[in-house]
Amino acid sequence: MNDYLRLFGAFARIGVLTFGGGYAMLPMLQKEVVEKYGWATEEELMDYYAIGQCTPGVIAVNTATFVGRKQKGTLGGVAATLGVVFPSLVIITVIAAFLANFADLPVVKNAFAGIRVCVCVLIFNAVCRLWKKSVTDKPALVICLAVLAGSLLLDLSPVVFVLLAGAAGVAVKTWEAKRS
């Protein structure tokens, strides 16, 4: 029991102390998982993190499941994962409840109108980062632009584009392998 609580606690701490997710989380993971508890080596952690990035879902959750599973099997994976999402649930619920009460104040309305402009810029920057990492050749460029145009023009679920893009990736690579 104690082990599960420790996993939950350590990952709850990681959840509280990571601002912004993604890469911001790595130093915290190293400190808790590698240095403090010795649950995984530096290399294992980097592996988990890399695979967490290329499996569906939230990277932090994927990494937590990996570490927890290695330590205490399936239940350990669940305990670590619940730990990493627990602080989010509490903090967001409190803020959302608070904001819901003040949403009609002029000052709050003005502030959020300004913040929405910033959100556009942050999303633009996120796209640029992804673009740099993923659009490395012509077929990737075509996939990116086709999905962009498709989701602007067609009323389809993003799920459809994800499935088509995965298939396109396999088709392109198979074709390239055949040609060479």
């Binding site: 569906p56 879902g57 994927n62 967001i92 959100v119 992804l130 994800v162 298939a167």
Partner: protein
């Protein structure tokens, strides 16, 4: 049954959103209008709150949407829906870790998925941009092309773009700093006209 529907919708997001954090955004941008659970501008506010509070952004967004839709139980159910596919997939992948990492097929699938994720986020981002940088209602009434743009918003966007991308001393700062700057500008220059 709202909770079952919430769980199912977020299960789908967790299963198909690839690339962390902002990857959940296009799915939510489609979910809101389809279900009527929240509007695009509420979603933009949720992105801002999720970026400026601790925790993984995807999880924060799920908690927020769940809470907006069905209160505290909604937040719990949406979050659990989001993480369930992750847990299942990782538990399976962990058994075949080496094979998974070296699999040509997996690499090829992700070769296609990553640029698609960029495209999806860009498309959803454009819808938020249209909302906060354009004023289609005033334009529809006046027909003046100059009325179509929210000039204060465009100016702020240009400043923030400079600060986050090209200005060396500020570009490494945490997003919460820029969100605070934008909130201050919004209040000072009455962005909502309120």
């Amino acid at each position: 049954m709202i909770f079952l529907k919430l769980f199912f919708e977020f299960f789908k997001v967790g299963l198909f959103a690839v690339g962390g954090g902002m990857a959940t955004f296009p799915f939510l941008s489609e979910l809101g209008p389809r279900t009527g659970w929240f509007t695009q501008s509420q979603l933009a506010d949720m992105v801002a709150v999720s970026e400026s509070t601790p925790g993984p952004i995807g999880v924060n967004m799920a908690s927020y949407v769940g809470f907006t839709t069905a209160g505290v139980p909604g937040a719990v159910v949406a979050t659990l829906g989001l993480i369930t596919p992750s847990v299942i997939i990782i538990l399976l992948v962990a058994r075949v870790l080496a094979a998974f990492r070296e699999s040509r097929l997996v690499q090829n699938i992700f070769y296609g998925l990553r640029p698609a994720s960029a495209g999806l986020i860009a498309a959803a981002g454009l819808s938020v941009a249209a909302l906060s940088l354009l004023d289609r209602e005033t334009y529809a009434v006046s027909g003046q092309i100059l009325d179509l743009f929210r000039w204060k918003g465009l100016l702020l966007a240009a400043v923030l773009l400079y600060l986050t991308r090209w200005c060396k001393p500020t570009k490494e700062l945490h997003p919460v700093v820029f969100i605070a700057v934008a909130a201050a500008a919004g209040i000072l220059f009455r962005f909502a006209g309120a």
